[in-house]
Protein backbone atom coordinates (compact mmCIF):
# COMPACT_ATOMS: atom_id res chain seq x y z
CA UNK A 1 0.00 0.00 0.00
CA UNK A 2 1.24 3.43 -0.82
CA UNK A 3 -0.44 5.09 2.13
CA UNK A 4 1.85 7.05 4.38
CA UNK A 5 1.08 5.70 7.83
CA UNK A 6 2.25 8.80 9.58
CA UNK A 7 -0.55 10.72 7.87
CA UNK A 8 -3.38 8.71 9.42
CA UNK A 9 -5.31 10.96 11.80
CA UNK A 10 -8.51 9.05 12.48
CA UNK A 11 -8.22 5.71 14.20
CA UNK A 12 -10.32 2.84 15.50
CA UNK A 13 -12.09 3.27 18.84
CA UNK A 14 -11.20 1.06 21.82
CA UNK A 15 -14.70 -0.39 21.63
CA UNK A 16 -14.26 -1.55 18.04
CA UNK A 17 -10.81 -2.96 18.70
CA UNK A 18 -12.01 -4.85 21.74
CA UNK A 19 -15.00 -6.19 19.81
CA UNK A 20 -12.69 -7.25 16.99
CA UNK A 21 -10.33 -8.94 19.43
CA UNK A 22 -13.16 -10.63 21.32
CA UNK A 23 -14.62 -11.82 18.01
CA UNK A 24 -18.08 -10.34 18.58
CA UNK A 25 -18.35 -7.80 15.75
CA UNK A 26 -20.43 -8.51 12.66
CA UNK A 27 -18.35 -9.85 9.76
CA UNK A 28 -18.84 -6.57 7.83
CA UNK A 29 -17.29 -4.59 10.71
CA UNK A 30 -14.45 -7.09 11.04
CA UNK A 31 -13.60 -6.46 7.40
CA UNK A 32 -13.35 -2.69 7.92
CA UNK A 33 -11.35 -3.09 11.15
CA UNK A 34 -8.93 -5.58 9.55
CA UNK A 35 -8.52 -3.25 6.56
CA UNK A 36 -7.72 -0.23 8.71
CA UNK A 37 -5.23 -2.26 10.76
CA UNK A 38 -3.59 -3.35 7.50
CA UNK A 39 -2.82 0.33 6.88
CA UNK A 40 -2.21 1.60 10.42
CA UNK A 41 0.67 0.47 12.64
CA UNK A 42 -0.73 2.27 15.65
CA UNK A 43 -4.02 0.37 15.54
CA UNK A 44 -2.13 -2.85 14.75
CA UNK A 45 -0.22 -2.39 17.99
CA UNK A 46 -3.46 -1.66 19.84
CA UNK A 47 -4.98 -4.83 18.39
CA UNK A 48 -2.07 -6.83 19.81
CA UNK A 49 -2.77 -5.21 23.18
CA UNK A 50 -6.42 -6.20 23.10
CA UNK A 51 -5.47 -9.73 22.04
CA UNK A 52 -3.14 -9.84 25.04
CA UNK A 53 -6.07 -8.86 27.27
CA UNK A 54 -8.03 -11.75 25.74
CA UNK A 55 -5.15 -14.13 26.44
CA UNK A 56 -4.94 -12.94 30.04
CA UNK A 57 -8.71 -13.31 30.54
CA UNK A 58 -8.53 -16.81 29.08
CA UNK A 59 -5.70 -17.79 31.44
CA UNK A 60 -7.65 -16.62 34.47
CA UNK A 61 -10.79 -18.71 34.07
CA UNK A 62 -9.42 -21.78 35.82
CA UNK A 63 -9.48 -25.12 34.04
CA UNK A 64 -11.99 -27.75 33.05
CA UNK A 65 -10.43 -31.21 32.53
CA UNK A 66 -10.38 -32.49 28.99
CA UNK A 67 -12.10 -35.77 28.20
CA UNK A 68 -10.17 -39.01 28.35
CA UNK A 69 -8.31 -39.60 25.13
CA UNK A 70 -8.49 -35.93 24.09
CA UNK A 71 -4.76 -35.71 23.55
CA UNK A 72 -4.70 -38.90 21.49
CA UNK A 73 -7.65 -37.64 19.45
CA UNK A 74 -5.82 -34.37 18.80
CA UNK A 75 -2.67 -36.21 17.73
CA UNK A 76 -4.78 -38.34 15.39
CA UNK A 77 -6.26 -35.14 13.95
CA UNK A 78 -2.76 -33.76 13.43
CA UNK A 79 -1.47 -36.94 11.84
CA UNK A 80 -4.37 -37.19 9.42
CA UNK A 81 -4.23 -33.53 8.38
CA UNK A 82 -1.82 -31.48 6.30
CA UNK A 83 1.71 -31.26 7.73
CA UNK A 84 2.28 -27.59 8.42
CA UNK A 85 0.44 -24.59 7.08
CA UNK A 86 2.89 -22.69 4.97
CA UNK A 87 2.80 -18.91 5.10
CA UNK A 88 1.31 -17.14 2.12
CA UNK A 89 3.93 -16.08 -0.42
CA UNK A 90 4.90 -12.42 -0.17
CA UNK A 91 3.14 -10.12 -2.57
CA UNK A 92 4.94 -7.43 -4.50
CA UNK A 93 2.44 -5.64 -6.70
CA UNK A 94 1.25 -2.36 -5.20
CA UNK A 95 -2.51 -2.21 -4.76
CA UNK A 96 -5.26 0.22 -3.78
CA UNK A 97 -7.28 -2.33 -1.82
CA UNK A 98 -5.75 -3.82 1.34
CA UNK A 99 -5.47 -7.63 1.40
CA UNK A 100 -8.65 -8.29 3.46
CA UNK A 101 -10.73 -6.40 0.87
CA UNK A 102 -8.95 -8.08 -2.04
CA UNK A 103 -9.95 -11.41 -0.51
CA UNK A 104 -13.62 -10.42 -0.74
CA UNK A 105 -13.38 -8.78 -4.18
CA UNK A 106 -11.25 -11.51 -5.70
CA UNK A 107 -8.62 -9.02 -6.84
CA UNK A 108 -7.67 -5.37 -6.73
CA UNK A 109 -9.70 -2.34 -7.83
CA UNK A 110 -9.90 -3.48 -11.46
CA UNK A 111 -11.82 -6.59 -10.33
CA UNK A 112 -14.62 -4.62 -8.62
CA UNK A 113 -18.05 -4.71 -10.29
CA UNK A 114 -19.44 -1.21 -9.70
CA UNK A 115 -23.14 -0.33 -9.78
CA UNK A 116 -24.26 3.26 -10.16
CA UNK A 117 -26.51 4.42 -7.35
CA UNK A 118 -27.22 7.97 -8.49
CA UNK A 119 -25.46 11.30 -8.15
CA UNK A 120 -22.42 9.86 -9.87
CA UNK A 121 -21.77 7.58 -6.90
CA UNK A 122 -21.10 3.86 -7.49
CA UNK A 123 -21.07 0.99 -5.05
CA UNK A 124 -20.14 -2.65 -4.81
CA UNK A 125 -21.74 -4.61 -1.96
CA UNK A 126 -19.41 -7.29 -0.59
CA UNK A 127 -20.84 -10.61 0.59
CA UNK A 128 -20.94 -10.97 4.39
CA UNK A 129 -23.33 -12.28 7.03
CA UNK A 130 -26.48 -10.19 7.25
CA UNK A 131 -26.09 -8.71 10.75
CA UNK A 132 -24.38 -5.75 9.02
CA UNK A 133 -23.44 -4.83 5.48
CA UNK A 134 -20.29 -3.55 3.84
CA UNK A 135 -19.69 -1.96 0.46
CA UNK A 136 -17.08 -0.20 -1.58
CA UNK A 137 -18.15 3.31 -2.56
CA UNK A 138 -16.72 5.37 -5.39
CA UNK A 139 -17.51 9.06 -5.11
CA UNK A 140 -16.35 11.27 -8.00
CA UNK A 141 -14.06 14.14 -7.01
CA UNK A 142 -16.05 17.09 -5.72
CA UNK A 143 -19.35 15.18 -5.39
CA UNK A 144 -21.42 15.18 -2.20
CA UNK A 145 -22.98 12.03 -0.76
CA UNK A 146 -26.65 12.77 0.18
CA UNK A 147 -27.08 14.21 3.66
CA UNK A 148 -27.75 11.28 5.92
CA UNK A 149 -28.14 10.27 9.53
CA UNK A 150 -27.53 6.86 11.06
CA UNK A 151 -29.63 4.41 12.95
CA UNK A 152 -26.76 2.26 14.04
CA UNK A 153 -22.99 2.48 13.75
CA UNK A 154 -21.39 3.35 10.45
CA UNK A 155 -17.70 2.83 9.70
CA UNK A 156 -16.11 4.50 6.70
CA UNK A 157 -12.50 3.77 5.76
CA UNK A 158 -10.95 5.88 3.03
CA UNK A 159 -8.83 3.85 0.59
CA UNK A 160 -8.13 6.49 -2.04
CA UNK A 161 -8.70 10.24 -2.29
CA UNK A 162 -10.33 12.05 0.62
CA UNK A 163 -13.64 13.40 1.85
CA UNK A 164 -14.68 16.20 4.13
CA UNK A 165 -17.78 16.74 6.19
CA UNK A 166 -18.87 19.55 8.44
CA UNK A 167 -16.41 18.71 11.14
CA UNK A 168 -13.37 17.06 9.63
CA UNK A 169 -11.28 15.76 6.77
CA UNK A 170 -10.66 12.08 6.08
CA UNK A 171 -7.85 10.96 3.78
CA UNK A 172 -6.53 7.57 2.73
CA UNK A 173 -6.16 5.29 5.76
CA UNK A 174 -8.46 7.36 7.96
CA UNK A 175 -11.56 5.77 9.46
CA UNK A 176 -14.69 7.63 10.45
CA UNK A 177 -16.84 6.05 13.15
CA UNK A 178 -20.32 7.59 12.99
CA UNK A 179 -23.12 6.93 15.42
CA UNK A 180 -26.79 7.77 15.78
CA UNK A 181 -26.32 11.37 16.82
CA UNK A 182 -24.37 12.28 13.74
CA UNK A 183 -25.96 13.76 10.62
CA UNK A 184 -23.43 14.65 8.00
CA UNK A 185 -22.84 15.35 4.35
CA UNK A 186 -19.47 14.06 3.21
CA UNK A 187 -18.02 15.66 0.08
CA UNK A 188 -15.28 13.99 -1.97
CA UNK A 189 -12.24 16.19 -2.31
CA UNK A 190 -11.35 17.69 -5.68
CA UNK A 191 -8.65 16.08 -7.73
CA UNK A 192 -9.23 12.35 -7.30
CA UNK A 193 -12.22 10.01 -7.02
CA UNK A 194 -12.74 8.96 -3.43
CA UNK A 195 -12.92 5.23 -2.77
CA UNK A 196 -14.19 4.12 0.61
CA UNK A 197 -15.01 0.91 2.40
CA UNK A 198 -18.21 1.55 4.37
CA UNK A 199 -20.02 -0.74 6.79
CA UNK A 200 -23.23 -0.21 8.69
CA UNK A 201 -25.29 -2.31 11.07
CA UNK A 202 -28.50 -0.50 10.12
CA UNK A 203 -29.88 0.97 6.92
CA UNK A 204 -28.75 4.56 6.33
CA UNK A 205 -31.47 7.17 6.82
CA UNK A 206 -31.42 9.91 4.25
CA UNK A 207 -32.92 13.26 5.13
CA UNK A 208 -34.67 14.11 1.85
CA UNK A 209 -37.61 12.25 0.31
CA UNK A 210 -36.01 11.36 -3.03
CA UNK A 211 -32.90 9.83 -1.50
CA UNK A 212 -35.15 7.90 0.88
CA UNK A 213 -36.93 6.30 -2.05
CA UNK A 214 -33.62 5.72 -3.75
CA UNK A 215 -32.43 4.07 -0.57
CA UNK A 216 -35.29 1.59 -0.65
CA UNK A 217 -34.75 0.77 -4.31
CA UNK A 218 -30.98 0.69 -4.26
CA UNK A 219 -30.46 -0.93 -0.85
CA UNK A 220 -27.88 1.58 0.29
Amino acid sequence: MKIDMTQINHHLTDGLLMGYSAGTLPEAFNLVVASHISLCDECRARMHEFDAVGGAVMEQQGDVPMGEGAFAATMAMINSGPEMDMPAPPRNAPSVLPQPVRDYVGGDLDSVTWRKIGGGVSQAVLPTTRDASVRLLKIPAGVAVPDHGHRGTELTLVLQGAFEDESDRFAAGDIEVANEEMVHQPVAKQGEDCICLAATDAPLRFMGLIPRIAQRVLRI
Binding site: G23, H48, V53, A56, D63, P65, G67, F71, T74
Partner: protein, 181 residues
Protein backbone atom coordinates in the same frame (compact mmCIF):
# COMPACT_ATOMS: atom_id res chain seq x y z
CA UNK B 1 -5.82 -18.15 39.41
CA UNK B 2 -2.76 -16.47 40.80
CA UNK B 3 -0.14 -19.01 39.86
CA UNK B 4 0.46 -17.36 36.54
CA UNK B 5 2.99 -19.55 34.76
CA UNK B 6 6.23 -18.21 33.45
CA UNK B 7 5.52 -17.81 29.79
CA UNK B 8 9.18 -18.03 28.91
CA UNK B 9 8.79 -21.79 29.40
CA UNK B 10 6.43 -22.04 26.49
CA UNK B 11 8.93 -20.50 24.10
CA UNK B 12 11.13 -23.59 24.31
CA UNK B 13 8.11 -25.84 23.78
CA UNK B 14 6.88 -23.81 20.82
CA UNK B 15 10.31 -23.92 19.24
CA UNK B 16 10.55 -27.69 19.79
CA UNK B 17 7.18 -28.19 18.10
CA UNK B 18 8.19 -26.01 15.21
CA UNK B 19 11.69 -27.38 14.64
CA UNK B 20 11.48 -31.05 15.59
CA UNK B 21 7.73 -31.83 15.79
CA UNK B 22 8.34 -32.70 19.43
CA UNK B 23 5.23 -34.44 20.79
CA UNK B 24 6.45 -34.25 24.41
CA UNK B 25 6.68 -30.48 24.18
CA UNK B 26 3.24 -30.46 22.59
CA UNK B 27 1.90 -32.65 25.42
CA UNK B 28 3.12 -30.11 28.00
CA UNK B 29 1.45 -27.24 26.15
CA UNK B 30 -1.70 -29.31 25.78
CA UNK B 31 -1.76 -30.21 29.48
CA UNK B 32 -1.55 -26.55 30.47
CA UNK B 33 -3.66 -24.82 27.86
CA UNK B 34 -6.33 -27.29 26.71
CA UNK B 35 -8.24 -27.25 30.05
CA UNK B 36 -7.94 -23.45 30.20
CA UNK B 37 -9.24 -22.91 26.68
CA UNK B 38 -12.07 -25.32 27.51
CA UNK B 39 -12.95 -23.39 30.67
CA UNK B 40 -12.85 -20.13 28.72
CA UNK B 41 -15.17 -21.44 26.00
CA UNK B 42 -17.61 -22.82 28.58
CA UNK B 43 -17.67 -19.50 30.44
CA UNK B 44 -18.71 -18.03 27.11
CA UNK B 45 -21.75 -20.31 27.07
CA UNK B 46 -20.46 -23.16 24.90
CA UNK B 47 -21.47 -26.72 25.81
CA UNK B 48 -18.82 -29.08 27.21
CA UNK B 49 -19.07 -31.22 24.05
CA UNK B 50 -18.62 -28.28 21.71
CA UNK B 51 -15.80 -26.86 23.83
CA UNK B 52 -13.97 -30.18 23.89
CA UNK B 53 -14.14 -30.45 20.10
CA UNK B 54 -13.14 -26.84 19.62
CA UNK B 55 -10.13 -27.18 21.94
CA UNK B 56 -8.86 -30.21 20.03
CA UNK B 57 -9.03 -28.26 16.81
CA UNK B 58 -7.32 -25.27 18.41
CA UNK B 59 -4.48 -27.47 19.61
CA UNK B 60 -4.12 -29.12 16.20
CA UNK B 61 -3.97 -25.65 14.64
CA UNK B 62 -1.28 -24.64 17.12
CA UNK B 63 0.81 -27.60 15.92
CA UNK B 64 0.32 -26.79 12.25
CA UNK B 65 0.98 -23.07 12.62
CA UNK B 66 3.80 -23.28 15.16
CA UNK B 67 6.20 -21.65 12.68
CA UNK B 68 3.98 -18.54 12.61
CA UNK B 69 4.22 -17.97 16.36
CA UNK B 70 6.17 -14.76 16.98
CA UNK B 71 7.12 -14.33 20.66
CA UNK B 72 7.98 -10.66 20.14
CA UNK B 73 4.36 -9.93 19.22
CA UNK B 74 2.34 -12.28 21.41
CA UNK B 75 2.77 -14.56 24.38
CA UNK B 76 1.73 -18.20 23.96
CA UNK B 77 -1.53 -17.52 25.83
CA UNK B 78 -2.33 -14.53 23.64
CA UNK B 79 -1.63 -16.51 20.49
CA UNK B 80 -3.68 -19.48 21.63
CA UNK B 81 -6.51 -17.13 22.56
CA UNK B 82 -6.59 -15.75 19.01
CA UNK B 83 -6.64 -19.26 17.53
CA UNK B 84 -9.52 -20.24 19.85
CA UNK B 85 -11.44 -17.07 19.01
CA UNK B 86 -11.10 -17.66 15.27
CA UNK B 87 -12.05 -21.32 15.58
CA UNK B 88 -15.13 -20.40 17.60
CA UNK B 89 -16.24 -17.78 15.07
CA UNK B 90 -15.81 -20.35 12.33
CA UNK B 91 -17.71 -23.11 14.16
CA UNK B 92 -20.54 -21.12 15.75
CA UNK B 93 -21.13 -18.17 13.52
CA UNK B 94 -20.09 -19.83 10.26
CA UNK B 95 -18.53 -16.63 9.08
CA UNK B 96 -15.21 -15.62 7.66
CA UNK B 97 -12.78 -13.79 9.87
CA UNK B 98 -11.00 -11.05 7.93
CA UNK B 99 -7.45 -10.71 9.27
CA UNK B 100 -5.12 -7.75 8.71
CA UNK B 101 -2.60 -7.93 5.91
CA UNK B 102 0.68 -9.38 7.14
CA UNK B 103 3.48 -6.91 7.62
CA UNK B 104 5.85 -7.04 4.67
CA UNK B 105 8.77 -8.39 6.68
CA UNK B 106 6.93 -11.41 8.22
CA UNK B 107 8.06 -13.12 11.44
CA UNK B 108 11.75 -12.86 12.17
CA UNK B 109 13.88 -15.98 11.76
CA UNK B 110 15.35 -15.63 15.23
CA UNK B 111 13.36 -13.14 17.29
CA UNK B 112 15.31 -10.79 19.50
CA UNK B 113 15.69 -12.13 23.04
CA UNK B 114 15.28 -8.65 24.51
CA UNK B 115 12.00 -8.06 22.68
CA UNK B 116 10.76 -11.50 23.67
CA UNK B 117 11.65 -10.96 27.33
CA UNK B 118 10.06 -7.54 27.37
CA UNK B 119 6.85 -8.84 25.88
CA UNK B 120 6.77 -11.75 28.32
CA UNK B 121 7.25 -9.41 31.22
CA UNK B 122 4.65 -6.94 30.03
CA UNK B 123 2.13 -9.67 29.38
CA UNK B 124 2.55 -10.85 32.96
CA UNK B 125 2.12 -7.33 34.26
CA UNK B 126 -1.03 -7.01 32.20
CA UNK B 127 -2.39 -10.30 33.51
CA UNK B 128 -1.73 -9.24 37.10
CA UNK B 129 -3.29 -5.85 36.46
CA UNK B 130 -6.46 -7.47 35.14
CA UNK B 131 -6.60 -9.92 38.03
CA UNK B 132 -6.26 -7.01 40.46
CA UNK B 133 -9.02 -4.86 38.96
CA UNK B 134 -12.09 -4.07 41.03
CA UNK B 135 -14.69 -6.81 40.48
CA UNK B 136 -16.99 -4.65 38.45
CA UNK B 137 -14.36 -3.62 35.93
CA UNK B 138 -12.87 -7.07 35.63
CA UNK B 139 -16.27 -8.62 35.11
CA UNK B 140 -16.95 -6.16 32.34
CA UNK B 141 -13.77 -7.04 30.47
CA UNK B 142 -14.42 -10.74 30.98
CA UNK B 143 -17.94 -10.43 29.65
CA UNK B 144 -16.64 -8.64 26.56
CA UNK B 145 -14.28 -11.54 25.85
CA UNK B 146 -16.83 -14.23 26.70
CA UNK B 147 -18.97 -12.66 23.98
CA UNK B 148 -21.68 -11.33 26.33
CA UNK B 149 -21.33 -7.69 25.30
CA UNK B 150 -22.22 -6.18 21.95
CA UNK B 151 -19.96 -3.63 20.35
CA UNK B 152 -22.22 -0.75 21.38
CA UNK B 153 -22.33 -2.02 24.97
CA UNK B 154 -18.53 -2.11 25.00
CA UNK B 155 -18.41 1.37 23.43
CA UNK B 156 -20.44 2.79 26.32
CA UNK B 157 -17.77 1.73 28.78
CA UNK B 158 -14.84 4.09 28.53
CA UNK B 159 -11.53 4.25 30.29
CA UNK B 160 -10.46 0.63 29.97
CA UNK B 161 -7.32 0.24 32.07
CA UNK B 162 -4.86 -1.03 29.50
CA UNK B 163 -1.63 0.57 28.49
CA UNK B 164 1.02 -1.55 30.15
CA UNK B 165 2.19 -3.46 27.10
CA UNK B 166 1.54 -0.65 24.67
CA UNK B 167 4.89 0.94 24.59
CA UNK B 168 6.96 -2.11 23.82
CA UNK B 169 4.89 -3.37 20.90
CA UNK B 170 4.77 0.11 19.43
CA UNK B 171 8.50 0.59 19.73
CA UNK B 172 9.14 -2.73 18.02
CA UNK B 173 6.80 -1.85 15.16
CA UNK B 174 8.31 1.59 14.79
CA UNK B 175 11.78 0.20 14.57
CA UNK B 176 10.87 -2.47 12.05
CA UNK B 177 9.03 0.05 9.92
CA UNK B 178 12.07 2.30 10.04
CA UNK B 179 14.40 -0.51 9.01
CA UNK B 180 12.22 -1.24 6.01
CA UNK B 181 12.75 2.21 4.57
Amino acid sequence: MNDLPKRTEWLAEMRAIRDTQDTDAFARIFAHFAPRVKAFLMKGGSSPEFSEECVQEVMATLWRKAHLFDPTKASASTWIFTIARNRKIDMIRKQRRPEPEDLPWGPAEEPSAADTMALTEETEILARAIAALPDKQRTLIERAYFGDLTHSEIAKETGLPLGTIKSRIRLALDRLRHEMK
